[in-house]
Amino acid sequence: MSVVASTDAPAVEVEDAKAPWRLLVGAAWAQHRTKIGVGITLLLVLIAVIGPFVSRYPPDQGVEGQFPFAPPSSDAWIGTDALGRDTLSRFLSGGYTVLILSGLATALGVSGGVVIGLLAAYSRGRLDDLLMRTMDVVLSFPQIVFALVLAATVGPSLWLLVLAVAVTTLPRAARVSRGAAVEVVERDFVRAAEAIGVPRRKILFSEVLPNITSPLVVETTLRLTFNIAVVAGLSFLGFGLQPPAADWGLMINENKNGLIIQPWPVVLPVIAIGLLTIGTSLIGDGLARAAIGIERGRRSSG
């Protein structure tokens, strides 16, 4: 990505040797909270990715000789769930779905939002108003309510879930892109590109986009944190993966009523989802602080 940006950008723009996003990542990494966040997130991603390969039993089958909500034993190290299945195996196998679904929804939503935001900032006038008012309408539903309305008609479907979460990500990403791009489109190098007849699409993606990467990186991390919560929440409500699949949100849903007898099948996925969101939000906070720091440094240096 950065290669395209640096070769196409006119000379006025190349003030710093590093691309803006590398500067941002460097400054963020200098902070403890970013390192802790990356550590936590990596740990959970590792559990989710390696987990399915190291789990002892198939996650959707009961363990022989075990009863529902059995206490820990040599056969099931932390006991069994509501259907007598090994809790640890289900936990290890149930992490990757929330990562894939929320990651996909964030990627789709942010990309779409960037296109809308850039277009709005660049065209101004009527198209700008139309796009941003449409975004306001989507914003008038809480994310989870919007997804539920769709689920009511089509029923639980993973594609729909990704699509619904992506659509609710759109307006938030569009606002941030527009906000950052409005000031960039006024700059001389954009005017220069227009004057020599560079097509609009190329101006937006090769001239404007590279200059708003910092706020976008910050926003993407923030949206990922929220989307993990929404995806896991929908799964918890029973509108994500369907039984007998192993999934952290679904595990909580299935075993909630046995909390008094056997807390592990609920507590383990709850802790995992909680840690995952804390991890990504620490990264997001580190990036946001870095972005503010860079902006300050730029202003004071003139």
């Binding site: 309408v137 008038s140 809480p142 008609t153 909580i252 804390i278 906070d285």
Partner: protein, 322 residues
Amino acid sequence: MPMHGITGFVVRRLLLGLVTLFFASVIIFAATQALPGDAARSFLGRSATPESLAELRRQLGLDKPVTTQYWDWISGVFTGDLGQSLANSLPVTEVIGERLVYSLFLMMLAAVISVPLGIAIGAISARRRDGVFDQVTSIVTLGLAALPEFVVGIGLAVLFSTTVFTFLPSVIVTEPGARPWDYPKELILPVATLVIAVVPYTARIMRASTVEILESDFVEMARLKGLSERRVLWRHAVPNALAPTFQVTAINLAYLAGGIVVVEAVFNYPGIGLLLVDAVRGRDVPVVQALALLIAGLYVVLNLLADLATIFVSPRLRTSLS
């Protein structure tokens, strides 16, 4: 502009809110009508016979043109006739009405506790900037803000009602005709969950805007006049830091409207959130449509109130408008 001053501003915001709501209603309607499979088929499922499908379609008005269907629905919003719930054949307004009291009471309690709490925490952190209190709240609020509501809710249930301690009830069992305030003990955990979800945001934005104002000239002036630091904070800095905080608070109260969905499901609290989840599960489209529009309406109203509150607490805006 034909209208000036605060009245003009209020009217413009009100109109914008109505336009937003109109389009929101179109989206809700389109989402539940245009997607593959109509409401009748999705409710009856595979067991549907052609006769029962035709009958339900007629009852829901699905045999009429789409524009007529939309008109019937949206005019029902104004006359209070939103059709019948497919689940129990009761009027939708009746089904929602009773539940709404529960949800509004829950949201009100959460708001009444979390807004002053967030403002106080934010202001104190700003005054003791980089002190122990500030650093601890900074870490705690960052962590709590990230947690999904159901994680907080179940965490509280594990801590206080099932595993560690067992002195608080984690589910509410209501009797017909009872009111939410009849269950003070059952309300503690759902309210606490919502408070924990909202306070971090309010506290963080309040801290940020108070820090900025404490560094401004007029606060320096107040200090030079020899006012006590406490007076400077609460009489000069805080009132001016409230404007951005109101905005964020309104956004978060609107966010409560979404938060109650999950929190009510965690604690089995009989409000509109749990109703929405049940209605979606049972494909009860008339109820889902009405609830979605209601929540969107709540959101628009809260944002409007936030804008108005912002004007009334910031003298500069007030004079520039009048």
